[in-house]
Amino acid sequence: MSNRYKRSITGTLAAATCTLLGSNMPEPVQAQEEPGWDFNTALLYYGEDDDRVQDLSLNVLTRRTFVDDRFLTFGVTLDALTGASPNGALPQSVPQTFTKPSGKGTYTTAPDQLPLDDTFKDARVAVTANWQQPLGRLFQVNAGVSASKEYDYLHLGLNAKISRDFNKRNTTLSAGFAIAQDESDPIGGTPTGLTAMLNAVEDDDEGRRKGPLETKDIFDIVFGVTQVISRNLLMQVNYSYSDTSGYLTDPYKTISVVDGATGDAVPVIPTPGDGPSHLNLFEHRPDNRVKHSLYTQAKYHMNGKVLDLSYRYMTDDWEIDSHTVDLRFRWPISDRSYLEPHLRFYTQTAAEFYSLYLIDGEPLPEYASADFRLGDFDATTAGLKFGWKTGGGNDMSVRVELYKQSGNISSGQLIGDQVGRDNYPDLNAIIVQYGYRFGK
């Protein structure tokens, strides 16, 4: 900020105005904003290729403004998820049969196909509520609660944040925390880690694999600095710490047990009844995960154009390190509309216990998972958003993005017949979002 306005000019201006208008100055102004409503709605479609996961999501964020810059925000998100997701087993040159997570019935994967569990179907409801208000002239506080429910999952959370402006509002420091408890009640019960997938059953009254509800506790803290660097440049740096403990395993994911020489999955000696054709163990993850992440963002304004560049580094004690670079450029194409290209690059290393398979006859590790999301992979997102103002002065936008995820498997990890198979097929997805924001 230029030095010439370091001091308020209101005193001098009031004196000059008093001279101009005569001595009888009126009462001090009393003006407040009329309490109002603001609705931000979005309909999002996320679809993976090869009939994998599809999500249709409706999000409504409602903000009620009260006098003196106090806000109450309510959010509701409804998701309908369908499609198939990888169950963790490796593709084989022969058909593979798996027991459904419910234990009722089986499904079969064709040769050379990635085994996908197509019984995946869920609906999710998530709600949030947040209160924000100034505290004195320089502090801002907000506090909120969140909850979400899926068929087999319940999340409850609390969060709070305080920020303070310094340096004539050119610097903002903030600190916040969030705690949450998640409860999972897997379909078919919670499997014991690193035990074999069992045969299907006729009824679910056998009480098999039924365990107690599994929970996890999440504790996050975040510290941030936002700094106005110049009239065009704004920068932000956040550090966050996250500690999750409890049941962190995915109860539906398995890992193939393979022959140490051929690399092929070990067949199960046929047993009476319907069951898995090959030996698969349920995955098992550590019961604690600590993450540190550093996020920096720069926003540069150029005559209505806005360049937004951010970078995030995350490291955790599962030995996953990730880097994310995100670039957006808002480019006005008329007085009422803009285009916004978006590029995002992501790369991560694998968790220490990530493995494509377990070798038959070797001692079982303490933890193992073949979930691609814990593997070494790169992902790229490229998209374009078009936004415009409606005749009524509301905001509309349409965003289309393509997502590509490619796993990195070194040849040293493959044994025997695994070489030449597509053990980690690329994942391609499309994201289409329509947004509408209006006030009342």
């Binding site: 201006l13 000059a16 001279t19 101009l20 208008l21 009462e27 009329e34």
Partner: protein
């Protein structure tokens, strides 16, 4: 000050709990709201306000032959003696000139010879802006109250303060004329002269909204005091993806870069509110910081360029 209104007449109509008088002045629709129950009272107050608005318009319009501004602008270098009211307005402008370090300048109207903000892409050439800047700058004016001497080709224009001044003058007249709740509004620059009695506050819509809120009109509750808006979302030029605001910086002769589309400020008088919003516009990208330092309530509209965060 804009052109002289061709239609001079008032109309009044009744609303729920108040009467509204309407007339045209300074190229703006003007209104007087008063919590009276009788039409005669509403007409009398509207007439009072309209007469003052038209008086100020006639006296300070740039377009009216023979008035003081016209005589100054036609003086062709000769000194002109001005009356007491004009002296006060010039002295006030001079305070603003000093407070803004030369960026509020009542001789900057000459820039209109090269800049026309009609939504087109007609950006003037650098040389034509430079040429017209020779006729701009209070430092070229000799002011020895009540005698003003400008160089030939220069122009004086009270457009930057005339309407706010007129609203405050009208509000003073209303305060002296009635104890009832009343409000005067000249095209969006307005004063609640007296608190309403039959409602909590006057509901006023402002076009300016802050960037974190959706566009459209925002409603304010005004009990007493003034609101003034600078900027106009419809007046701009647009070329090569750059939006040129109609806020011109007299120091450069060019539009202020990164100026908000409009700024509304609340203050005790319309003159203070108008000057703060104008000076904030001249701050461009730092408009909000300037206003924060002034500790006033304001609503800044930066359009969709920065909204949505």
């Amino acid at each position: 000050m804009a052109s002289r209104s061709s239609q001079r007449g008032i109309t009044v109509d009744q609303h729920d709990g108040y009467w509204r008088g309407k007339f045209l002045a300074m190229a703006s629709p003007c209104e007087v709201l008063c919590e009276t129950d009788n039409q005669g009272g509403a007409e009398r107050l509207t007439e009072l306000v309209a007469t003052e608005a038209w008086r100020i318009e006639d006296k300070f319009s740039r377009y009216l032959p023979g008035n003081i501004v016209n005589r100054i602008n036609e003086a062709n270098g000769r000194p002109i003696e001005v009356d007491a009211e004009t002296t006060q307005l010039i002295d006030f402008s001079l305070s603003l000139y000093e407070l803004s370090h030369g960026r509020f300048d009542i001789t900057s109207g000459v820039l209109r010879r090269v800049w026309t903000f009609d939504g087109s892409s007609n950006i003037p050439s650098k040389s034509s802006v430079k040429a017209v800047k020779r006729y701009l700058g209070w430092k070229r004016v000799r002011w020895n109250a009540p005698v003003l001497q400008m160089q030939p080709g220069m122009e004086l224009d009270f457009g930057g303060i005339g309407k706010e001044y007129a609203v405050d003058r009208a509000a003073n007249l209303l305060r002296n004329a009635t104890p009832l709740g009343c409000l005067v509004n000249f095209g969006g620059d307005l004063v609640a002269a007296r608190k309403p009695c039959r409602r909590d506050a006057w509901n006023v819509g402002v076009e300016a909204v802050d960037a974190s809120r959706p566009a459209g009109e925002k409603l304010l509750n005004l009990q007493v005091g003034a609101l003034a808006t600078s900027g106009d979302a419809r007046r701009f030029l647009f070329r090569d993806g750059i939006r040129y605001s109609h806020i011109l910086d007299p120091l450069t002769g060019w539009p202020v870069p990164d100026a908000p589309r409009s700024i509304t400020v609340a203050a005790d008088t319309c003159t203070q509110a108008g000057m703060l919003s104008t000076l904030a516009m001249l701050e461009g990208a730092q408009a909000e910081q300037f206003l924060e330092a002034q500790a006033v309530r304001y609503w800044c509209n930066r359009g969709n360029a920065v909204a949505g965060n």
